[in-house]
Every structure is written in C-alpha cells, then in structure tokens.
Amino acid sequence: MAQTQALQPQPLGGAGGMPLTQKRESLWQDALRRLMRNRAAVIGGTIIILLIFITIFADKIALKSFEVQVLVDQNKVPQWLLSVFPTMKPYAQISEAYPLGADYVGRDLFSRIIYGGRVSLSVAFIGPLISLIVGVVYGSISGYFGGRVDNIMMRIVDVLYAFPSLLFIILLMAFFRSTLTEIPPGTPAYALSQLDHQLGGMLFIFIGIGLTAWETMARLTRGQVLSVREKEFVEAAHTIGASNWRIMFKHILPNILGPLIVNETLAIPGYITTEAFLSFIGLGVTPPTPSWGAMISDGSAVVRTYPNQAVFPALALAICMFAFNFLGDGLRDAFDPRLRGTQ
C-alpha cells in the first residue's frame, strides 16, 4: 500500500520533514488537517451536521404537522413578516401561531421547511452512493479490461450522456408513477410502488437520479483506472498471481478513491437541485410530503401576494446548497492543494 504515495500529490505544507514510513498515514490525515484549516469548509460541514440533526429530530423541532390543513388560517402571517415584506401590509391577515406564516391551504410553513430537509438530505446522501457504486464498478471494468470491452462500454455511456439527463429523469418519473399505481397487489412492482408511497415519492427520485448520475462517475473512474493500471505495483500484483477482481478492488480502487469521493461531493448540490427541479414541476415527491422544491413551486404561484411562501423554502434550499458547496470545495482543495493554486 505504500504505492498510494506515489500517486498522490506530495503534501506541500508542513509534511516535508516527515520520515517516509509515516507518509501513508499522513495522506488522509493531511487532507483532514487541511480541511480543518479551511474555515468555509468547516462552516459548511457544521451546517450539514446541524441539518442532519434538525431533520432527524424534525418531529421534535417542528411545532406542527406538515400535512394538517387549517383552511381558516390560509396565507396568514405573523406580525414581524410585515416589516420584511411590506407589500403584504394592505391585505395580510395576522396570526402569531405560524412563525413563518401559513401556506395556501393553512399548513405551517416552518414545520414544512423542517420536514422538507429530509427529502433534500436523503437525496444528498443516497444520490452519491448509487452513482459511486454503479459508476465505479462500470468504470473500473471498462478501464481495467480495455480493448473491445472498453470501447463498447464507453460508447454506451456516450449515448446515455447525450441524452439530456433531466429529460430522462422526467420521462422515467412519468413512467414509474403511472404504470406502477395500476399494478395488481402482490407483485414486486407493487411492493416498490408501496415503498415509494411510504417514502413520499422519494424511492423513484433515487432510482431516477441513480440511473442518470453514474455516467460521469464511470468516465472519471475509467480515466483514473487507465492512469493507474500500467503502474509497477499492478504489474507486481499480476506476477504474484492476484486475480483480476482482487487487483481491481484491492490495488487499484484504493488508489483512485480520493478524487472520486471529492468529485462525488462536488456533485451533491446537483442532486439536490435535480430533486428540487423535479418536485417543482410536480414530478418529484408526492403530496403532501414537503419538499423545498415543491414548496417553492407552490409559493412562486403566489409570490406577488405572499412572498414568504416562496422565499423561505428558497433560502432553506440555498443554505443547504451553500453548505455542500463549501464542503465539497474544501475537500477538493484538501485532497489536491494544487487546484487551489497555492504553490
């Protein structure tokens, strides 16, 4: 495993005088140290941890249910919002029971935003997981075996890549949603649609994202594998008779994992946006599951009269995106300081 070092950029600051034997340890530690020094990344990470806690304990934090509609309270706002959005003054009805106001059917906006974080965060963690697993397996097979296998596998990726992914997801969602509801009970597809229903429509979002997100990862993995597979340590593994699978996953994969993880972290905001887009156009979560995208969609219909209904979910989404962008950036700089250009 000492080969790990040969491929990674030498740590530029501070590690120069260390004895060689400690270097393998110091790759991840060094990255972690650099990450902790990056204030923006630390803030981003902290916000993410906070968001995770908030969404896990959503039922404790949210004051009300996310689905109970109190029709007499529709569009009511608390007093303090009038100073933020003065245009509402002439017609707004006041109710202090809702910290951020109530939506167009009288649901508590604050509680819905808190619960809505569950959808975005699940997508943020499960999206990369699917894409990493599928993409890495596909990409390493393609890159490792090379030749005709590589050619065919990469042409498939090329064609899928040309297919606009958001369009593809939209089509898939339309397909999933309408076929599976009419399927008789007892079949696997029925079980899937039931599970999707229980998850508030998230299962098919995961599948949709998973089916479209792995292509970039596959290409990246292939490139990385190509750059590593001719190295001496792989040859050495061959000579001692290691199997292809062992070489791929024991020798090559650990050496290329760093860039892959960084890349996947940088892709997370993209998954979050995709979910929000889908929910915005009504193909994402199934109502009444709150999702920031769906809430922005509902809110932007009344943005001229009740801007709070669109602005607060939008801010929540923006904060979440900020956090993941900061963390992703920090991770990238930590793993490859050259990219920051601090030489």
Binding site: V159, A162, L171, N325
Partner: protein, 351 residues
C-alpha cells in the same frame, strides 16, 4: 478534420435515433394514451381519433413512420395541403418538385396545432432566453475568473470566488422567486412576468427590436438562469489561467521582454480557454433544461410548459418532438465544442 466531422455527424444521427427509440419506448410503456381523460370520451370517439392518428398501427410501424416523417427528406411533386398531418418544418419548392423535411406531426392535445407550430411560436422565445443566459454566464463569469487569477490571493480573488460559490448555490428556483419579489413586486422596476418579443423573428428566432421594451422582460430570467453557470465559468477560468501562467512558454514570453498585458492576452488567455470551452457543452445542456423552470417562474411563453404538460397529457408527438429537439441541440453543441478545441489548441488533431 473533414473525415472527423463526417464521422461525428453520423454518430449524431445514431445518438438521435437511439434517443428517439428510448423515448418512444418509455412513452408507450406508460399506460393510458393521449385520449385518456378524467371525463371519459365516448368509445366511438376514441376509436375515430386513434384511427386518425394511426395509433392502432403496430408500434414498430408507428415508430418507423415517425422516423420517416421526421428524419428522411421527402421529395415529391405533390403540393402541400393545409392538413395538420401535412405540416413540414422545411417546405421548399425547387423547380417542379417540393423538398420537404421534418414533419413532427400534430399535437394530439390541442387539436388545432402541430408540433411544428409550437416550435415556430414558442421555441424562438426559449432560444432567446437560453442565448441571453449563456451571454450572462460568459460576460460575468470570464472577467471574474480572469481578475481572480491575475490577482491571486488578494481580496479580489477571495471576493470573486466567494461570489462564485454564492452563484452555484442559488439555482434558478431559488433566485427566480426572490428576484421576482424584489424587482418585480417590491421595487416595481421590472415586469415580474411576460416576454417582450413577438413573431416574426429574424432568422427564425431573433427579436426584431432590441430596446428597453425587450430587455426589461429578459433581464431577470436571464440573470436568474445564467448566474449559476457564470459561477462555474469563473471558477474554471481562474483555475485554468492559474495553471497556464506557470507554463514555460509564458516564462519565455516574459523573458523576451513582452509587456505583461501582451503576455496575458496573447499567450495565456487563449490557452487557458480550453477547459472553459469543454464545460460549455454540459453547461448548455443545463441552461436548456433550466429554461423550463425559468419559464414557469417568470411566466414566459416558451417551450418549457409544452414539454412538461405534454408528458402528463401523453401528447405523443409533442413529447417526441421536444425531446428530439433538445437532443439535437445538445449533440450539435458538443460537436461545436469539440471543433472549437481544435481551433484553440492546434495540438489537438482529429483524424
């Protein structure tokens, strides 16, 4: 180079056919058809409609017919009729024969329009929006990236890159409603919805006048859509330029006494553009799909509504038409990007 372009063009056709195949398959796998309504139509009516739109034919025949109508140029002596089934996007009389190409069929939902009608009336608006968003992205992104790189590790650099992170973190669905409220409702500077251009268009998509009347509608959506991309461009430009100015040939250029400005503009910038050009393909894709949502937020009568609505309505020809259109856009954009490489970096040779 010529052979490369031809190969790529053939490849484009393959991609478009595959895309059409997948779309066609998925579309017909969804139960219910264009005439399934909440309030059921009479049996007899559905039968007649299916007959008229050839929905009773076997699927493979429908698909082959569709490909034939859309992709194969028709050369006939028969003059075109007014029928909705007979609307070709390109229809020219050359001598005694008609050259006709790209019949995307009638919309099955709004039964007085063809897909080509939608293309002619609404696509130009989406195209204008997309073009302007791309312009915003480039005009904001590149200077920001260049300044950040040239003044590396100064306050300009940090502010620029902080702005860039801000930009990527606010997708159009975040920025859109906020902009509408601030500039459209609270300050009343700009109209919150609508679009300032009507047909006829120059070259099929350019508005005939470009005054304040036009731009006051376009500024907000274009900024909302383009800002995220501008941030990506800024970061990439910065990273790429930083790498380039460390190259040996830049040192050579400096050593031979060139003015710093000349070194940057003549030597560094052009070479640092290559990664920026690479990203334009995917970026274009993001902008094109972003136009749907932007149009919904800002009430712009572009293609976005038709795309989303056609899927829920099972309006087969519109689904196929819009998806194929976007697919063609994207592959053409990628081709243009690849050809631009060759221009920017003479070391890249395609043959």
């Amino acid at each position: 180079m010529g052979r490369y372009v031809i190969r790529r063009l053939l490849y484009m056709v393959v991609v478009v056919v595959v895309v059409s195949f997948i779309t066609f398959g998925l579309m017909h796998a969804v139960p219910g058809g264009p005439f399934t309504r909440e309030k059921k139509l009479p049996e007899e009516t559905i039968k007649i409609l299916n007959e008229r739109y050839h929905l009773n034919d076997p699927l493979w025949k429908q698909y082959v017919d569709y490909l034939y109508d859309t992709m194969v140029p028709h050369i006939t002596t028969i003059a075109p009729t007014n029928s909705l089934l007979d609307d070709f996007l390109i229809s020219k009389k050359v001598g005694p024969v008609w050259f006709r190409w790209m019949n995307f069929g009638p919309s099955m939902h709004s039964r007085s329009r063809t897909v080509n009608d939608i293309f002619r009336a609404n696509l130009p608006i989406s195209a204008q929006l997309g073009t302007m968003a791309l312009t915003v992205a480039l005009v904001i992104g590149m200077p920001l990236g260049i300044v950040a790189a040239l003044k590396q590790n100064t306050i300009y650099d940090y502010t620029g890159m902080a702005m860039a992170i801000f930009g990527v973190s606010v997708p159009v669905i975040v920025l859109g409603p906020i902009l509408v409220w601030i500039f459209g409702v609270a300050l009343k500077w700009l109209p919150p919805t609508g679009w300032g251009a009507k047909p006829p268009y120059i070259l099929g998509f350019l508005p005939t006048h470009l005054g304040w009347d036009y731009f006051r509608f376009a500024i907000m959506p274009a900024v909302a859509l383009g800002l995220g991309s501008s941030a990506i461009i800024a970061r990439l430009t910065r990273a790429s330029l930083l790498q380039t100015v460390r190259e040996d040939y830049i040192r050579t250029a400096r050593a031979k006494g060139l003015h710093e400005r000349t070194v940057i503009t003549k030597h560094a910038l052009k070479n640092s553009l290559i990664p920026v050009v690479t990203i334009l393909g995917p970026l274009f894709a993001a902008l094109v799909t972003g136009t749907f949502v932007t149009e919904l937020i800002f009430g712009i009568p572009g293609m976005g509504k038709y795309f989303v609505v056609s899927i829920t309505n099972r309006d087969y020809p519109v689904i196929m038409g819009t998806i194929l259109l976007y697919a063609v856009f994207l592959v053409v954009a990628n081709l243009v990007v690849d050809l631009t490489y060759a221009y920017l970096d003479p070391r890249i040779r395609y043959d």
